[in-house]
Symmetry: C2
Subunit: 305 residues, 2 copies
């Protein structure tokens, strides 16, 4: 079965982004193999969940934000790994039988299908804890402790009940019900926006940016997440259409709240474009050297499923 990793990703067409992506993959592999392990099959489950194929958009955003504020991108690698581990944690738990009950993700068995439900829960838990341990490794990159504490606060808030976990709770509660645009926005802002906001903020903090810059990039990232999710929903709607009916694995097919379903495809497309323009403007204004971060965001907007 083909995996996503084989496709040209977000870094295609940019030598620098390709270099970052390769460096990140090496860093993550080593971090998870050497430091995220546990006894018995738990270690294997954690590695399976953390190293699943993906676009690595969030870690690339971390590195690009660090670069954007004038920092050396390599110093942000522990923060990039932390954000990716929180993302992986959320996917593993979202796939559980009590939640979305998915057997496959990107052509591979989900973690709980491969290792059993108990290890699915525990691998997710371990990844969430590991994210914070990994953040403290920013110390080795000479990131000041004050920035690390800010990063911990932001990542914890983005992952917690008010944001990522809260978004999943709303998403489950909305399943099968008709949700209006405000309701979809409340879910997407939490489920996707919060962690993308944290990705940009953490990158900025790793680049030793001040709290105000981190806050502005956080807000831009939250908007980016919203646009990203609308774009995803549009691509899914297209797939559903192409398949002339329900297609397993798309949110629309299982009665999930989506933006195109709430406001129509045309309005959704316009909203995504409007948000992306606002994000681009905010980044251009906030960053010292926004080029590569803007490039990455442009690639995100262009991407296909």
């Amino acid at each position: 079965m083909a995996t996503r990793a084989a496709k040209p990703g977000l870094a295609a067409g940019s030598r620098e982004l390709s270099q970052w992506l390769a460096a990140f993959e090496r860093y993550l592999l080593r971090a998870v193999r050497e430091r995220a392990g546990g006894p018995g099959r738990l270690g294997a489950a954690v590695r399976y969940a953390a190293l699943s194929p993906g676009k690595r958009l969030r870690p690339l955003l971390v590195l690009a934000a660090c670069d954007g504020v004038g920092g050396e991108w390599r110093r942000a690698l522990p923060a990039a790994a932390a954000v990716e581990c929180v993302h992986a944690f959320s996917l593993v738990h979202d796939d559980l039988p009590a939640m979305d009950d998915d057997d496959y993700r990107r052509g591979r068995l989900t973690t709980h299908k491969k290792f059993g439900e108990a290890l699915g829960v525990l691998a997710g838990d371990a990844l969430l804890a590991f994210a914070f341990e990994e953040l403290t490794r920013l110390r080795r990159e000479d990131v000041p402790d004050a920035r690390i504490v800010d990063a911990v606060r932001r990542l914890a808030a983005a992952a917690g009940a008010a944001q990522l976990v809260g978004g999943q709770a709303l998403d489950i509660a909305a399943e099968g019900r008709r949700v209006n645009a405000a309701g979809v926005r409340a879910i997407h802002t939490r489920k996707t926006g919060a962690l993308m906001g944290a990705a940009l903020a953490l990158g900025a903090l790793a680049g030793d940016a001040d709290a105000e810059t981190a806050e502005r990039l956080n807000d831009a990232g939250v908007m980016l997440g919203l646009a990203f999710q609308i774009h995803d929903d549009l691509l899914n709607a297209g797939s559903s259409l192409a398949a002339l009916g329900k297609r397993a694995g798309t949110d629309a097919a299982r009665g999930k709240a989506t933006f195109p379903a709430a406001v129509g495809e045309k309005a959704a497309r316009a909203e995504a474009a409007r948000i992306l323009h606002a994000v681009d403007t905010a980044i251009a204004r906030t960053c010292e050297r926004p080029r590569r971060l803007r490039l990455l965001i442009e690639a995100t907007a262009r991407r296909e499923r």
Copy 2:
């Protein structure tokens, strides 16, 4: 149904420990109500899980360790709440159907029985994330950022795959199998020892102790957790005997690995006493004013189910 909270707890007989316990309960209630909430029923599930009745041994250890190294105990309240939230997270996830499948804990419905399995998983996730957010509030107590980063590192490591979560994985794998003393020790050290170690270390860090003192108190806490668990297993074995046979809710009854089962009650009792003596010696040597911490540990050793 009677709850544990009504019984005289670990603080009975000590005016100071009673005062700490009352202050902690107030702090935790406020922290959870004001800062740990989420949308819809998730907020209620998080509060239910975090504010469940308990002895509050771990947070009291945090405050006592802070006091022990010469710190002002009140400054350690955010760390005490963080440790209690990690403990609450682990109980909620351990009770899930895929794990121990418990319907009741201390006379109340378990979180997933009351709120459904999805919110059980998510409430646990939220509590784990909240613990780290709460740790960063040590800043408001003028704890130096360097100590906070150390505290994050220690709490994350204690909660993660190598320790707390790893212990649960081992525990599940051992269920129904005969486990020798080394196997039981491997489980207890992770499931109970690691977080008690973190409790003492975090208290020390909140009291601005250096890394070496925190490390020594961590080691003492890990041992204390082991003694605590053996003591618990002995009390459970006693209950089983008293009930003339199997008693629902005890680890022995469900074929879990326990120390008395592995080495016999007499040897288990001697081992617990030996460990507690070593803990007491370590604390007396490490702490500037060990009186209240030793008092708390003595009360722990005396306690009944």
